[in-house]
Structures are given as structure tokens and as C-alpha cells.
């Protein structure tokens, strides 16, 4: 998964210049043609975002915009590649500039994740699913 950080323009809802849009569209087309891109989107400014804060039993809703926009995601891709090296090689071809840093992070394999759960947690998951199934049948 590839995370693109926000900046002043993305927060102000200013569209990138036309030539950058054209370059990004061409880059996306390359990804699709290579069978690499599974999904990808740009996100709206954090003025349209909300946060939910969890503390004890309390949930507090906080409205955007949020100040630390550079640490917030303004867009993402999901790529299917053979290795991190391949993902890096693709990312190097993206039309970014100006010192922006783009983060690549492998997605956890849920099966591997499942292996790390304790047997009790796994059994509880099984029980919940069986219960759901039962409720749907009745």
C-alpha cells in the first residue's frame, strides 16, 4: 500500500496543475497496463474529515480541518507486486517532486496474522461466526 501525504494545496482543495494531473494519469495508466494497480484514490481535504477519540467508555467526535496535514494521508494506492523492490521500482517512476516523501507499506497477510492470535481469541472468532451463521438461518 502506498501513502501520499497531504500539503497546503490538497488541504485548500486546490487541484494540482494540469501537467501534473496528466503525468499522474499516465503513471496510473502504466500501473494498470502492467496489472499492478488494484485500487487507488485521492482523498478530500481534512476540512471534510472527522475524528473519533476513544477514552474509557467515552467517544468524542472532533471535526476537521486538522493542522498536521503533512502527516495525514491525502491519497493512496493498493498495488499487487512480487516484492518490496518491485514496489520501490514502480514508485521511483511516479511524477512527484519538491521533497515530498511517499511511504510504501506491505499489507499484513490475514492468514499470517491469524497464526499470531492466541487459540482462545481464534476460538472466540469461530464462535462469533457460527453464531452469525445461525442467526441468518433462523
Amino acid at each position: 500500500m502506498v501513502f501520499v501525504p497531504g500539503n497546503k494545496d490538497s488541504e485548500a482543495g486546490v487541484m494540482p496543475p494540469n501537467d501534473l494531473v496528466a503525468k499522474m494519469t499516465a503513471f496510473n495508466a502504466e500501473l494498470v497496463k502492467a496489472g499492478v494497480m488494484l485500487a487507488g484514490d485521492g482523498l478530500t481535504p481534512t476540512s471534510q474529515a472527522k475524528r473519533v477519540r476513544f477514552e474509557g467508555g467515552k467517544r468524542t467526535i472532533i471535526d476537521g480541518p486538522f493542522a498536521e496535514s503533512k502527516e495525514l494521508v491525502a491519497g493512496y494506492w493498493i498495488w499487487q507486486v512480487k516484492s518490496m523492490d518491485e514496489a520501490v521500482e514502480w514508485l521511483k517512476r511516479a511524477p512527484f517532486d519538491g521533497g515530498v516523501e511517499i511511504t510504501l507499506r506491505p499489507v499484513f497477510d490475514p492468514v499470517e496474522f491469524g497464526k499470531h492470535l492466541s487459540p482462545e481469541v481464534r476460538a472466540e472468532g469461530e464462535r462469533l461466526r457460527a453464531e452469525l451463521e445461525r442467526q441468518k438461518k433462523s
Binding site: G35, A39, V111
Partner: protein, 420 residues
């Protein structure tokens, strides 16, 4: 040493991204798959030698192409010089000029041409699979050998022989259009689906699935869907593979045992792939009615994908889709699958009649799923002794260790159910 390893990994990544385009471009120019691959490999070797010192160039694909092209020109020049020395030919510069001009043509057609050639009907399906993974997947001989649990030397020979066959058969390198293209594409689809299936239900060995082969097949299918966007069956095959892949992680239990469709934890299904699969299916359905064989299979897979629980499955629609598929393919394997759907829609007795009618079918004589399905139906009908025998027979026939264990467990379960 660390830096060299890092560069090597980066070179491999570049190769994975660029090799098919590179070989495709070279095939167009030199009109010989073997020579094109040699030139591309030569460029790769040069990159492996030089890049650790020079760093990876900004446009590595263009660098590889230029390097390969220069080698091609060198070789051609040398050959022409030899021929001239023997008084056979005069004009070196013109030939080189043509070569330069030929280089920046349409990349899409290059890849499509390469796929069509690698899957040409003169080749056996084994050869098509190996050549496709090699030329379009950018896999090494060892990777292909590991994926198919076959010795590297066998794969190597298979590829060498395939390239020789293509040269000897003087296979044309034009990209056909219309009906001829559809026919040639069907041979490509078959190879891609073979690769996928070997990953989805490994016919041999101790792993039930090999997801990396599924991913490779999907990648090839997605590439092809861009190259032949008007072909309904291409989108249908992609839909089928996306939907089946969505279940990969639900298909294997924590200790590696297979989990059958109706027993799977559907919350593990990858909804992104389901969504992509249903979108590709809609595309295929909009391009052609009545549905072709891959579209029918994708539609069946779609029925399962849409059912939130096994009990919500629309079995009657699945039976109807199988009816159409049986009529189209006349395949006993498909008839067997239809019988399974019939048992879910109309009960095991109706299904058993269909399965019994297949018992004399020579194509199914050593197919482990015939006694496996028959055993299940007999068990459902309470004929446990016969069921156990069928499941044990199925266990003897399968070559996959995980599947054998599952079949034997089901056979034992028949014994446990028997009133003592």
C-alpha cells in the same frame, strides 16, 4: 557486499517490470523469439555488471532497450560483414537504419504479439505455460521449475524446444484481428488459466495452493485485458481469477489443510478482489451475450461471491449456468461440477443419478474428484459403507498430499457415523 545485493535486487525488480516489453520490442525487430530473448538476457547481464558501479539509470527500461538494440545492430553488422566477405550482400547502413526506425513502435502491440507467439497453437500446453512465464512473467528457469515442481533442466529443455518449434514452424509475428484474434486469444487464455489453476489447487506436492502462481496468472490476465479490451472472454477469465483469488486465504486452514468452499470463513474473502471480479464480469457480460465458457464460469463464481453465507447461495441459478456450460463444452468434468450444484439445489439423489451416468466416462477414469463427489453424495444418502470406499478410492487417486489427508479424514468420518 550489502550494496551489491541491494543493486541486484533492484536489477531484478527492473527486469520484472521491463523484460516483457523489452523482449516484445526485440521480437518485432528481429522476428525470432530465441534471438530476442538472448539479446534481452545479454542486456540484463550487462546491467548486472555495470549498475553496481554506475548506479541504476533514471530510465532503466530505455537503457536496457538501447543496450539490447546495440547488441542486435552489432550482431547484424557482423553477419552482414560475413555475408559481404562471401560476396553475398552490399548495404549494411540501410539494414541498420531500418532497425533504428523499427524500435519506437506501439508497445501494446509488442506485448500482445509476444503473448500470442508464446501461446501459439503449434506448442504443447506445457510449452506455452513455460514460455509465457519466462517471456511475459520475467520468471527465471529456477522459479518456473520450483512453481511446477519440475527439475530446472526439464524446464530449460522445454523452453529451448518451444523456441525451436516456433522458428521451424515459421510462426508469423503479425497481430491478427477479428475472429482470428479471438481464436488465438483463446489459446493464451488457456495457458493463463492453467498457470492459475496450478496455483489454486496444486496437482502435486505438499502445498494445497501456491498463491504466487495465482498472482502471476492474474497479472498476465490483467495485462491482457488492457491489450485486448474488446474481447469478452479475456475480461471473463480475469473476473473468474479475481473472484477465485479472493478466496485463497480462506481456502487453507492454519495447519495447511484445504477448506472447501461451503466451509470457508467468508469474512476472510478479499472484498477488493471480489469487487474487481464482479466489475470484470459485468464488463464481459456487456460485451457479449450469450455468455462464453469463461463468462459462465465467472458468473458461477460470482453467485458464490455474492452469497454472504453458504446457505444464501443461489443454487438454482448456478445449475442453470452449468446447464449452459455443459452444452457448450461437452466436458465430463463440467458435468461432474453440475452434479454438485444439482445436489445443493435439488438434493443428493438427483445428483447421484447424474454422477452414476459419468462412471463409464474414460476421461474421468483416474480423476479423483469423481469418487470424491460420489462418496459425498452416498454419505448424504446414508449409504456410508459405499461412501467410505469411494472416498478412499479418491484418496488413492489424488497426487496432492493435503487433499489426500482430507479425503481420508472424510472416509473415517463415514465409519464414525455408522450405527454400531
Amino acid at each position: 557486499v550489502i550494496e551489491a545485493a541491494a543493486t541486484r535486487a533492484a536489477v531484478d525488480a527492473v527486469w520484472r517490470i521491463e523484460s516483457a516489453r523489452l523482449i516484445g520490442g526485440l521480437v518485432r525487430i528481429v522476428r525470432d523469439v530465441g534471438l530476442a530473448e538472448d539479446l534481452a538476457q545479454g542486456a540484463l547481464v550487462t546491467a548486472i555488471e555495470r549498475w553496481p558501479e554506475t548506479g541504476i539509470p533514471d530510465n532503466p527500461g530505455a537503457w536496457l532497450m538501447t543496450t539490447a538494440k546495440n547488441r542486435a545492430i552489432d550482431q547484424l553488422r557482423r553477419r552482414k560483414l560475413d555475408e559481404r566477405a562471401r560476396g553475398e550482400i552490399e548495404d549494411v547502413p540501410a539494414a541498420v537504419f531500418d532497425l533504428e526506425a523499427a524500435i519506437d513502435d506501439d508497445v501494446g502491440d509488442d506485448l500482445l504479439r509476444l503473448m500470442l507467439v508464446a501461446c501459439h497453437p503449434v506448442l504443447s500446453s506445457e510449452a506455452r505455460v513455460a514460455l509465457t512465464l519466462r517471456l511475459l512473467g520475467g520468471l527465471t528457469i529456477d522459479e518456473i521449475a520450483r512453481a511446477f515442481l519440475t527439475p530446472s533442466t526439464t524446464i530449460q529443455q522445454r523452453i529451448v524446444r518451444a523456441k525451436r518449434t516456433l522458428t521451424e514452424a515459421r510462426v508469423p509475428f503479425d497481430v491478427p484481428r477479428g475472429e482470428e484474434l479471438a481464436q488465438r486469444l483463446s489459446s493464451v487464455l488457456e495457458a493463463i488459466y492453467l498457470i492459475f489453476n496450478e496455483g489454486y489447487a496444486a496437482t502435486q506436492g505438499d502445498d494445497w495452493t501456491r498463491p504466487e502462481l495465482c498472482e502471476e496468472a492474474l497479472r498476465l490476465g490483467r495485462i491482457l485485458a488492457q491489450l485486448a479490451a474488446e474481447d469478452p472472454e479475456v475480461h471473463a477469465l480475469v473476473a473468474l481469477m479475481e473472484i477465485q483469488s479472493s478466496r485463497l486465504r480462506a481456502r487453507v486452514g492454519l495447519s495447511g489443510e484445504p477448506i472447501l468452499l461451503l466451509d470457508q470463513d467468508r469474512s476472510l474473502w478479499d472484498q477488493l478482489l471480489v469487487h474487481r471480479g464482479l466489475a470484470a464480469l459485468a464488463r464481459a457480460e456487456s460485451l457479449k451475450q450469450p455468455l462464453g465458457p469463461y463468462a459462465l464460469q465467472a458468473a458461477i463464481a460470482g453467485c458464490h461471491a455474492r452469497a454472504r453465507t453458504a446457505t444464501e447461495t443461489d443454487w438454482q441459478r448456478i445449475v442453470a449456468l452449468y446447464d449452459a456450460l455443459v452444452e457448450m463444452t461437452q466436458s465430463p468434468v463440467v458435468e461432474l461440477n453440475r452434479a454438485v450444484a444439482v445436489s445443493m439445489a435439488f438434493g443428493p439423489a438427483a445428483a447421484l443419478e447424474l454422477v452414476d451416468a459419468l462412471l463409464g466416462e474414460p476421461a474421468l477414469a483416474s480423476y479423483h474428484l469423481l469418487p470424491s463427489v460420489r462418496g459425498d453424495l452416498l454419505a448424504k444418502l446414508g449409504r456410508l459403507e459405499e461412501a467410505r470406499r469411494e472416498l478412499e478410492r479418491a484418496a488413492k487417486l489424488t497426487k496432492n498430499d493435503r487433499e489426500r489427508a482430507l479425503l481420508l479424514a472424510r472416509a473415517r468420518a463415514c465409519d464414525a457415523q455408522k450405527p454400531s
